[in-house]
Symmetry: C2
Subunit: 141 residues, 2 copies
């Protein structure tokens, strides 16, 4: 069994949820693509590949995946949220072009550390964060 399938089984078990074809299909579609896509993108791709899963099930499954750190939810400020899997990739944040919508990823460990310090200072138990830079990308300038 593939590593990713294992992972899904584990998480579903931990959550007391059943392993179903639909959940596997959704996870598989997400984990085998490295783009930032919205629910409809994912739903339509599944459908195009002849895999019939309802939109509601895509939403429901993604909720579970996000809750369990397998998928990152990305609010790009306009339109529906986007999603990307978190397998085999270090944590990163995003720069979003307000002109063309391009999403670029960035990593900055110093910022991450400072962020932890801030949380500690306020005795705030940090669960997740959003750090997004909005502006004009190189190509759009």
């Amino acid at each position: 069994m593939s590593k990713n399938k294992e992972k899904l089984k584990m998480v579903l078990h931990k959550e007391g949820l059943r392993f179903t074809n639909q959940r596997e299909a959704v996870w598989n579609e997400i984990v085998t693509c490295d783009e930032h896509r919205n629910v409809d993108d994912i739903y339509m791709t599944l459908r195009k590949n002849g895999i019939l899963v309802s939109r509601a099930t895509v939403y429901r499954t993604i909720d579970v995946l996000v809750k369990n750190n397998m998928v990152r939810k990305l609010d790009v400020g306009v339109g529906p949220s986007k999603f990307e899997h978190k397998m085999n990739a270090p944590h990163h944040d995003h720069m979003i072009c307000i002109q063309c919508g391009r999403i670029e990823e960035f990593v900055d460990d110093q910022i991450e550390n400072l962020q932890d310090s801030v949380a500690k200072e306020y005795e705030f138990k940090l669960v997740r964060h959003i750090h997004q830079l909005f502006g004009i990308c190189k190509d759009c300038q």
Copy 2:
């Protein structure tokens, strides 16, 4: 004429928009309150004070204010966006309790600088940013 009224007049003029009672009332309601409120909070407060401005106008006015750096839009992850004026206060970001919804502000110049460096590195023209920490606040732990 008050400083804030001046400011509004300037911005509206710059945008080629007219100075109206409604726009003044909305700006006045926002600038004289230091909380993080959603459109409906603001709308209802105006209404409670006998100032009849339609919801659509509140939305429209806030758009202008946000676009012109007089108001910050705050997406708290659940429910409607919140807003706060940006007068007489240094830039800050937010920590949001996912339990009770409390919003705490924080300032970190080092993070701001690193952020600028990242943008420069990618030749990305930074216009605005969101940096929000989600977690459990001191009181909710």
